[in-house]
């Protein structure tokens, strides 16, 4: 079975075979995200040796680490973007990608997400939003839909979820898109664009967690969850003409923003050059 996958699955060349099969639960959307990411890398012709993939803690942090065959830095809970900022400043020529979950990047690490976007540092973040803390057993997250059942909101969630893509757009990112694991081709296209733009890019990938979220919310199977994504998604062009009431509980998908803005590491390096020149200091980039 495993061998067959290696010969038939074209993206297998991007995977660390000795680490497979993945630790993800059957039906998890993480595999779809991994597949979309590999396809995007493949279609763009990016050499994996030019990639540094950083992740935090949680199920979605496992999507790239250890399975994706590139340098991967597996870090602490919530701080992946802070680590990635260091990597990007140190190695500005590399493509630095963060793949991690909603609880990790928007919950405990939300501050880093906002400030990396504000700084517009050239990092691509694939934020896998499954509405729940999956790894620890399905506790309520800052992304859990209003009214949803979780292990720590057994009757219903009385808090409203954070709109991640909208927040990051407001914070100043160059590129922001949101799709679900139902929209595989659109997801690949957006990841490609996110990897291509200069500046902070976020792709929020709404993903199914049938084990911890679905089964407590009347969607026991991955198929039911994907159907929910299909039925419940509204294209952003359509959503612009809808009232907040009409949009309650909907998933707005599409590209939220794609704009050119000064990028942090470039600005930083040109500032260093400028100041060095002003004070007659030597070539700062000399080894």
């Amino acid at each position: 079975m495993a061998k067959e996958i290696y010969t038939k699955y074209k993206m297998a060349k991007y995977l660390r075979k000795e680490a497979l099969p993945t630790a993800l639960c059957p039906g998890c959307g993480g595999g779809t995200v991994l597949n979309a990411f590999a396809n995007a890398i493949d279609q763009l012709g990016i050499d994996p040796r030019d990639l540094v993939v950083v992740s935090g803690i949680g199920c979605s942090a496992w999507i790239a680490s250890p399975y994706f065959l590139a340098d991967t830095l597996h870090t602490t809970h919530g701080r992946a973007i802070a680590y990635a900022t260091g990597v990007k400043v140190g190695l500005p020529d590399k493509k630095v990608v963060v793949i991690s979950g909603d609880g990790d990047l928007a919950g405990i690490g939300g501050n880093h997400l906002i400030h990396a976007a504000r700084r517009n540092i050239d990092i691509t973040v694939i934020l896998v939003n499954n509405f729940i803390y999956g790894m620890t057993g399905g506790q309520v997250a800052p992304t859990t839909p209003f009214g949803a059942i979780t292990t720590t909101s057994p009757y219903r969630n009385v808090e409203h979820p954070l709109n991640i893509a909208e927040t990051v757009t407001s914070a100043g990112a160059s590129y922001v898109a949101r799709w679900t694991t139902f929209h595989v081709y659109q997801l690949i296209e957006s990841i490609k664009r996110a990897l291509s733009v200069k500046g902070f890019a976020l792709v929020e990938a709404i993903s199914q967690c049938p084990v911890q979220f679905g089964r407590r919310n009347r969607m026991k199977t991955p198929t039911e969850m994907l159907r929910w994504f299909q039925r419940n998604s509204v294209l952003i062009s359509k959503a612009r003409n809808m009232s907040p009431n009409e949009l309650e509980g909907k998933i707005v998908v599409g590209e939220l923003v794609n704009r050119e803005k000064p990028e942090f590491t470039e600005e930083l390096n040109s500032l260093i050059e400028e100041v060095s020149k002003h004070y007659g200091l030597g070539d700062n980039n000399a080894d």
Binding site: H77, Q139, T151, T152, S153, P154, E159
Partner: protein, 394 residues
């Protein structure tokens, strides 16, 4: 009548919290402790527990919310482990410095890197200098009892320091054992309602907590924390006595097992103490004069009890699931401080064992005894020994 139920240690900790009636519980999920707040949230949702449960966005926020609650004069509780406790680090100092009697249940787990979710004590041991008292449970019953004891000691006017109660990840947190749940009325008598008699935030009498302490005052404030920790020794003894009277179970700072005529004594903390007792029985049958000891209280360090234990042994072997890189295990380093000026002292040996969930087997313990025996007959042995290392992959 006390009720006996079969439960995981995490549930026992949640039951302890329920019995202690904190007004605020703030927690963030982390393996292996998640079940503690999960169970508490059930108690609260079912109306069995009257507390505010705050689902915060990080452990840093969890302990910060507890500091806020405790500073406002109510009993506060949380649970965490490993990286979660490490993330709480800066706030732990603040809780102790503000003299807030918060209690944390810790499912003792290793620290990254590499990521590892299994048992050792590196998380709480690394917080030994924060000014928190530390208790370690051997089994689920002890975890429940020690949480109640921790509240009682922490809230004592002579102490007023926060406390953490550690129990081994998975070995205890996820293992079911019969646990006696004390009657609520007896716990109420034991703990009483928490009425802060010291300074707390009361809008009627405004004060500032945690403000700047200039060099002219800072050292004195820190000294009072030292003093409180020193006072805690006596208070812990008193509370152990009272606990025994109320609940019939006796605790000791250091509990000894077959140590009276022992030449070699193995000392440890947590669930490993149970393994040691079985091992000692086996070795006794083989005619080896060996005993075991369990340290239940690590901070304050049981200095006198440790010295008394040391007097009985020719070789005192410390088995610990932590390492302070560049010196030794933390308990061994502390033990050195305790014995340094003693005229008669045993050979003290350190055994680093069971890190990151590595099982501690009788074979490992045989190795400990072999090294100890060598030391006993005057052979030179290493002071710090890593036991059970897979040398073939190094």
């Amino acid at each position: 009548m006390p009720m006996r139920k079969v439960m995981k240690c995490n549930e026992a900790a949640a039951w302890a919290a329920k019995l202690a009636k904190p007004k605020v519980v703030a927690a963030f999920p982390i393996t292996p402790s998640t079940l503690v707040p999960e169970k508490i949230s059930e108690f609260i949702a079912d109306g069995e527990m009257d507390a505010e449960f705050i689902k915060v966005e990080s452990e840093h926020s969890a302990i910060s919310a507890c500091v806020g609650a405790s500073a406002a004069g109510v009993r506060a509780f949380t649970a965490t482990a490993s990286q979660g406790l490490a993330l709480m680090h800066e706030v732990l100092f603040i809780a102790a410095g503000m003299r807030l009697p918060i209690v944390i249940a810790i499912g003792n787990r290793s620290l990254s890197a590499p990521i590892n979710i299994w048992n050792d004590w590196q998380d709480s041991i690394s917080e030994r200098d924060t000014g928190w008292m530390q208790f370690y449970a051997e089994n689920n019953q002890e975890a429940l009892d020690l949480i109640l004891i921790a509240f009682k000691v922490a809230e004592n006017e002579r102490v007023l320091l926060p406390a953490m109660v550690g129990f081994d990840a998975f070995i205890l947190t996820h293992t079911v054992e019969p646990v006696e749940i004390p009657d609520q009325e007896v716990v109420d008598e034991f703990l009483g309602e928490y009425v802060p008699k010291h300074a707390y935030l009361d809008p009627a009498k405004p004060i500032t907590q945690g403000a700047l302490g200039f060099p002219a005052h800072y050292m004195e404030v820190r000294y009072t924390v030292w003093e409180a920790m020193e006072n805690a020794r006596q208070v812990i003894e008193e509370v152990f006595d009272e606990f025994e009277k109320k609940f019939g179970r006796r605790y000791y700072m250091i509990e000894e097992y077959k140590t009276d005529d022992a030449e070699i004594i193995l000392l440890t903390m947590g669930s490993l103490a149970g393994t040691l007792k079985d091992f000692v029985d086996k070795k006794r049958e083989e005619g080896v004069k060996i005993g075991a000891a369990k340290m239940t209280v690590y901070r304050p360090f049981p200095i006198e009890e440790f010295r008394a234990l040391a007097k009985k042994a020719k070789v005192l072997a410390i088995l610990e699931k932590d390492i302070s890189f560049g010196i030794s295990g933390a308990v061994f380093a502390d033990a050195g401080r305790v014995l340094v000026n003693e005229k008669e002292k045993p050979i003290l040996l350190d055994f680093i064992i069971g890190l990151g969930g590595r099982d501690v087997t009788f074979e490992n313990l045989e190795e400990v005894v072999e090294i100890s025996k060598k030391a006993l007959v005057g052979e030179k042995v290493e002071e710090v020994n890593w036991i059970g290392l897979r040398k073939e992959i190094l």
